[in-house]
Symmetry: C2
Subunit: 338 residues, 2 copies
């Protein structure tokens, strides 16, 4: 009953590499490239990289490791208009030095690392929160826009080159898009107006590896942002649209993902000694000597080529291109500016 | 331009929980359950659990951690007919004590942990491999069967209850299936016979978190099985059909996923001191005192309910069921037999 086929992809790999024609990319037909994704990223022109403002970074310094090495985690905050209620709270919390002296309290394998005030549940011991934090409604988990129009944070329509064939294959959304370096799911729906129904699109940030979210209690609580987590395993996308996402780790996630797993329920540490201390959390513009960072512009042709190569590896190690990729298997490249 | 919708899922969560009717599950209409996935697993009857034979386990004991705690990793080997050339090699390597005294040599964040002989590339220092290892052809990365017939390892057709709507949403395959506790992608294709073309299905194991694969050199090399890796990040499914998968970690993956990341290229450790030693690797039937393990039978009704709940969380924490799940976000539950 068991037979063997010729590799399906021999035909594909035999296709000669065509010159990269931007007209074809713009039409959603990214050219087959024999380059590995990292090679495409390395060859991307400077104009295809976008700067991340230091004021949009959150810089968390953990206590040094057992050998005395510093452990810094750099997080890019979610651009407007997404999740801005929580992002605003987070800016206030950083300005108030709320996280200084708190700790990483939970490390659950293949799931999340979570940090904040370990005594938050104990009113006698809990750190005082800044008084002006917003209580953000659940409706802010999603954002709506006119059907088919994806917008960047400055309001201009997004014009990306990512092939529709890749974007349409998502088990959790009708399609996905990257907007300013962040992953989003999209779904069209009808909105009731006074007279007519109009089609709109709903979008929401996606729980990929390294995304940063807001811990919360049971609904309708949505969390303030004082308790944060990051994803350290396979994308837990059942959390999408159920919890706020406020950014993603762009450097230093290994300082969190390699921590010992907690042995309590949900991966919480059972003793205070197991926790990793947080020395300070600051907005990047307050940190002296911070490198400048940029991401491969998700609206650029280079990004489309990179995504196509992630979906269809044609470099020498591979014998069969996958023919697709899920959004979380297309991590957005970030680099320090030299 | 920004408006807010009512949560789409309010309608769904308002649906009363119906009694679980097996006829409906069998028809691919798993009943909405307000239970969390873990609660469904805990309530599954004994008959919905399947034993894993000790002879199908690979037990790897790492050197104790810095506090002297033992670190054991238990791997379930891939059932027939999948990847059996490499599995057979692995049984020979374990019988020859090949891995005793070798090490974990590579830990790449959000990707893989890899182990084996750190000196394999150095002919003067490399450990000698057993002489009778098979050179397995690339054609063994996939398995074919008559169209629409998924078979278990004893040859009987698989009859699972997983809803088609969940299985059909996969960016890397036409649909997915679980077979005896392991995740597989499926795709139909035509096979040329002498006279006619017949439809067949191609299947292959999928690179989910914790799956174990065979390191290899450039194609057409397929690896012997002496060099193994496990996935410790988001599913790198571009590796599917390009590398052999031989099993999955069912216990102790945290001993690998929490190791310090290697700072060399591809996450290899740069000095021998950074490596974690492997004390021994044995087939489970050789290990005295090993607990018995079982997995939630992927052909059972309980598994279908569990998968449906993973795709549509209706327990109290959630306000919007996702409406789908990718195969790697439905990890197959495993337990020790009490």
């Amino acid at each position: 009953m068991r037979k063997h086929l010729l590799p399906l992809a021999l035909l594909l790999t035999a296709t000669p590499a065509l010159p990269q024609a931007s007209a074809n990319i713009a039409a959603g037909r990214a050219q087959p490239s024999p380059l590995a994704p990292a090679e495409i990223v390395n060859a991307a022109p400077k104009t295809d990289w976008a700067a991340i403002a230091a004021s949009d970074l959150l810089v968390m310094d953990l206590a040094p490791d057992s050998k005395g090495k510093p452990r810094r985690v750099v997080i890019q905050l979610m651009p407007a208009p997404f999740s801005q209620g929580w992002v605003s709270n987070i800016r206030k919390l950083a300005a108030a030095r709320f996280w200084d002296g708190t700790s990483i309290n939970r490390v659950q394998d293949n799931y999340v690392v979570q940090w904040g005030d370990a005594n938050a549940e104990d009113k006698a011991k809990a750190k005082r929160l800044p008084g002006d934090l917003a209580a953000v409604p659940e409706s802010e988990y999603i954002t709506t826009s006119p059907f088919g129009v994806v917008r960047k944070s400055d309001g201009t329509p997004l014009r990306g080159y990512l092939p529709e064939s890749i974007k349409a294959a998502d088990p959790y959304a009708e399609r996905f898009e990257f907007v300013e370096g962040m992953p989003f799911g999209y779904m069209k729906t009808q909105e009731l107006g006074i007279v007519t129904k109009t089609w709109v699109e709903v979008s929401w940030p996606v729980h990929c590896y390294g995304m940063v979210g807001v811990g919360r209690d049971m609904p309708p609580n949505t969390g303030t942002g004082a308790e944060l987590y990051t994803v350290i395993g396979h994308a837990p996308r059942h959390l999408d649209r159920n919890i706020a996402l406020v950014g993603r780790v762009i450097e230093g996630i290994e300082h969190m993902s390699s921590l010992p797993r907690g042995t309590g329920a949900l991966g919480f540490y059972e003793t205070p000694e197991e926790r990793t201390g947080i020395v300070s959390v600051r907005i990047g513009s307050e940190v002296s000597g911070l490198p400048a960072y940029e991401y491969l512009a998700t609206e650029s042709e280079s990004f489309a080529r990179y995504a196509d190569a992630r979906a269809n590896r044609r470099d020498a190690f591979f014998i069969r291109p996958a023919g697709g990729a899920d959004i979380c298997n297309i991590p957005v490249p970030v680099r320090r500016v030299k």
